[in-house]
Amino acid sequence: MKKKIVVGIIIFILLFGAIFLLGTGRKKTPTPVPTTTSGVSWQGLVAGKSTKDQVNGVLGNPLSETSSENQTTNTYSSLSETRPNSAVFDNNSNTALFLRQIVSAKDTKTIKDITDVYGETNTKLYGPDWINGIYLFVYLDKGIAYLANPDSNTLLEVWYFPPTTLDNFLKTWAIDYSTQPKNQPF
């Protein structure tokens, strides 16, 4: 009986220890590396600089708002009926960390509009749709990326973020992407 009581106490201690560890050691949402420079502007909005109010003022009322411990993601209507624009905000500073512009068939923006301004980039990333010829072209030092099918000159999205490193970009904003195609049969 004594033995069981001792073991019972040990279990309680382990239990509370586990709860304590879980509480303090919970995985946090990755926070982008602080940057000193701002990225490219989209309708006057700049990732790393514009506030939530400013973003809401330009993109309209959010369609949805999803919050985590450190960040909040809002979606906004776009010209696509199925793919909304989105913005990620830092909860502490209330500034936009990342902006995603959806380019639908109704938009006039093209790949050329981007490459004419920023030139070609060597950073080409492979994501879920690379098998359909869609890649993410990233200008890390400028804070802009575009998702497109270059074979058919089709632009799908433009991403805005504070200039950063490739490593950090992959960890923070492009977790489904890699520098090499994943040889997964489809």
Binding site: K4, I11, L15, T82, N132, G133, I134, A148, N149, F186
Partner: protein
């Protein structure tokens, strides 16, 4: 094995070849003999086995290790177990062969004992090798198909059954289930023998068989209440018993055996675990005696679903290669069922108080995390009470009638609560882990299996080769001599001699705008003698002597310009274990620019599979608008990638290259068409990014994923899936299991996608 012993075995072999009706030689039944020689030779191929014994008999092969094992060892395989089995079989065989010339009553008795020893070894090896055979599912009436690795999908189904079975088995510890008999089992149960009837009939059997059957009856009665007993099914339900039950004394077919296993109240009574185990042996062993359809029918008759793996095993032997994933998962599931669950149950029984205490841990955690003191305190008290001897002891210690009453009630309530929680603790993590495993390993396109064009048959092999293979230019039709193609068809008996053989020949010329007859084909046998199609009198094909047919065909003149010519030879024959077995071999040649669109075959294609692929592409070209648009950006190279497990195809080799694997081209017309169309859809998406974007932006289309692609689904996969379904699910195509989730049809299930495909991509009805 000595040269003399090898010669004796070859004599036996020759006897069996010359006397197809003979059931045994010197007391050795034919099936056991064929199995024996394969075991000794370390192979599962009779041709290799015979070559080995011929080599030993001729003195060209020496040493202890059979050639097949030597080769396997060179490839890095661990052959120690197979070698040990081979040596064991060899030893008893030597003993048996040595006693063949024994005379007198005593000698005959010794000979019989020696033969029985050999059979026992074969039987034991059979039992050891039967259990792990887990293979893809049975093609349904109209064919089946799955989009993931067939092994993964099948294992998932098995897992669902076993995961369901595990809790049931655990529950049975607390209260054995009394399931109502399903209506569809009525017929089988009512026509089946009861256990007492089986026991009664067993009395008339020879002593050894009688003991075996009675032990099984006893076992079945026990197994109803014991999960541990159920896990030991293999010990009681072995090959010999199956033979007895299916023999003249009992005359039970598989449905009857299934019903017998189920008991008075239908299958679930004795537990799915028992049935799953016995089912493997039952259907594994009897598979060679029955057609797939008959087995499916037997299962349907008995209303069984948990025996899916057993049926799968049957067909796995029949036609479909065993995929690695399915095998591994099957092994994992079996291991978990037989090892962990049993041990858990025993542990729970022995440490009931600890288990009860553990049940309160989540309560305490929830109480702490959500700040509910009542739960925290209640949980802690529960743990304490459990550890101090359980509710019964604790409350009883308070003494008195009331205490005892509460104790009894408390135990019952706790037991009833504990059971499902234990079940959840056991089964949910296992289920989740294995589902994740399957998901991570199964995101393949695996074509459905239906209506084999030139699929493999377990008894007959038909390989057709065209020489030269082409492709030919239209100009070649007008040269002297014109195009002359020699076809060689090799027919192999895979398991025993083929008799009652019949040939059927079919040929078609595929052209864009007209139909043409094939030129005459004058088939000749290996001796150069003309063969007419139809039944072949007195022809027998031995496993060791493949039968070759050759013929030459001339193609000349304008009528064959821009055509694909596919001809097929179908062989029907009686094999040792199946009458009317059928297999086909086809070959295709291409002249000029046949209606294969912009698809260009590279030279990696076997003739048989190329014929299947050409046929599928020919059908796809009927979608003329789609093909014109697809091909406007240039040719698409079609590579054959060989066997890649369950993977049917991919387009990862390059932007204009489609690789088709064996699983994507050998499982039937609809399957082949579906695979090539889906893969072409990826290239269409690449070439027409604007249409892909339009698809993604269309409400009710781009935001709804298509169910027939169950793993790693995405907009990028649903787009080619839509294209594949618009073609391969259109009216006139054999239904396949893969499309089962559509319910009726693609058009009915996804009207938005269908409309998009019709109006934006195909601009044709294609028979819809």
């Amino acid at each position: 094995m000595s040269q003399e012993e090898a010669r004796k075995l070859l004599d036996a072999w020759a006897f069996f070849d010359k006397h197809p009706e003979a059931k045994s030689w010197e007391g050795m039944p034919r099936p056991e003999f064929y199995r024996l020689v394969q075991i000794i030779a370390g192979t599962d191929n009779l041709v290799d086995a015979k070559e080995y014994f011929e080599g030993v008999a001729a003195g060209t092969i020496t040493g202890d290790m059979p050639t097949a094992l030597l080769e396997a060892q060179k490839e890095g395989q661990d052959v120690s177990k197979r070698l040990s089995t081979s040596k064991g079989a060899s030893k008893v065989t030597k003993n048996w062969l040595a006693k063949l010339s024994a005379k007198g009553a005593e000698g005959v008795a010794e000979k019989q004992v020696a033969a029985a020893q050999v059979q026992a070894v074969v039987e034991r090896v059979e039992e050891e090798t039967l259990t792990p055979k887990i293979a893809p599912p049975v093609p349904s009436e109209g064919g089946i198909g799955i989009k993931i690795s067939s092994g993964a999908f099948d294992s998932f189904q098995q897992l669902a059954g076993k995961a369901a079975a595990t809790p049931l088995a655990v529950i049975s510890l607390f209260s054995p289930p009394k399931s109502a008999m399903a209506p569809q089992t009525s017929a089988a149960v009512s026509s089946a023998l009861s256990l007492p009837q089986v026991a009664q009939k067993a009395e008339k059997l020879p002593e050894a068989d009688k003991k075996r059957v009675l032990a099984f009856v006893d076992y079945l009665q026990q197994a109803q209440f014991s999960y541990v007993q159920q896990t030991q099914a293999g010990r009681f339900f072995n090959v010999r018993l199956i033979t007895i039950l299916s023999g003249p004394e009992f005359n039970m077919d598989q449905g009857s055996v299934v019903a017998l296993l189920g008991g008075e109240h239908g299958i679930p009574e004795r537990g799915p675990s028992l049935f799953a185990r016995i089912g493997q042996q039952l259907f594994g062993s009897l598979a060679q005696k029955a057609a797939t359809k008959a087995i499916t029918s037997a299962l349907t008759k008995a209303g069984i679903s948990v025996a899916g793996e057993a049926v799968a095993g049957t067909v796995g032997q029949a036609a479909i290669p065993i995929p690695g994933v399915g095998f591994i998962v099957g092994q994992v599931v079996n291991w978990i069922s037989s090892k962990i669950v049993d041990k858990l149950i025993e542990f729970v029984r022995e440490h009931r108080d600890w288990v009860y205490a553990a049940l309160f841990v989540p309560v305490v955690v929830v109480g702490i995390v959500f700040g509910i003191p009542l739960l925290t305190i209640g949980g802690a008290v529960g743990m304490g009470v459990s550890l101090l001897g359980g509710p019964s002891a604790f409350i009883s210690s308070a003494g008195g009638f009331l205490g005892a009453t509460i104790s009894a009630l408390g135990s019952m309530v706790l037991a009833s609560i504990a059971a499902p929680i234990i079940i959840a603790l056991i089964s949910i993590p296992v289920l989740v882990a294995i589902i994740l495993f399957i998901i991570n390993s199964g995101a393949y396109i695996v074509p459905p299996q239906t209506g084999f064009i030139s699929g493999e048959n377990p008894y007959i092999g038909v390989e057709k080769v065209a020489s030269p293979t082409g492709p030919f230019r239209n100009d070649d039709l007008f040269t002297t001599p014109p195009i002359v193609v020699e076809y060689t068809i090799t027919i192999t008996a895979k398991k025993g001699t083929l008799t009652n053989i019949s040939f059927a020949y079919d040929c078609e010329v595929i052209k864009k705008s007209s139909t043409e007859d094939c030129p005459a084909a004058n088939l000749v046998d290996p001796q150069g003698k003309a063969i007419t199609v139809g039944p072949q009198a007195n022809l027998r094909i031995s496993p060791t002597e493949p039968y070759k047919i050759t013929y030459q065909t001339q193609y000349s003149g304008a009528r064959f310009q821009d055509s694909a010519i596919i001809d097929t030879l179908t062989v029907t024959a009686d094999a040792a274990e199946q009458n009317g077995a059928q297999a086909s071999g086809g070959a295709a040649i291409i002249i000029g620019n046949p209606p294969t669109g912009c698809f260009r075959f590279d030279d990696s294609w076997p003739a048989n599979l190329k014929a299947n692929e050409v046929r599928a592409i020919t059908e796809l070209t009927r979608a003329s608008v789609y093909m014109t648009r697809l091909c406007a950006a240039g040719e698409i190279v079609l590579k054959y990638g060989g066997n890649n497990g369950g993977v049917g195809g991919d387009v990862i080799a390059g932007p204009n290259i489609i690789t088709i694997y064996s699983a994507g081209v050998q499982y039937g017309a609809t399957s082949t068409l579906y695979t090539i169309t889906h893969e072409s859809g990826h290239i269409f998406a690449r070439r027409y990014g604007g249409i892909f974007r339009q698809y993604a932006d269309t409400p009710g289309v781009g935001n709804i994923l298509i169910c027939t692609y169950p793993f790693n689904n995405s907009v990028g996969e649903s787009f080619p899936e839509m294209i594949g379904l618009f073609v391969a699910n259109s009216p006139g195509h054999a239904p396949i299991n893969l499309f089962g989730c559509l319910g009726g049809s693609f058009k009915a299930k996804y009207p938005g996608h269908w409309q998009f495909a019709r109006n934006v991509i195909f601009q044709q009805d294609l028979g819809w």
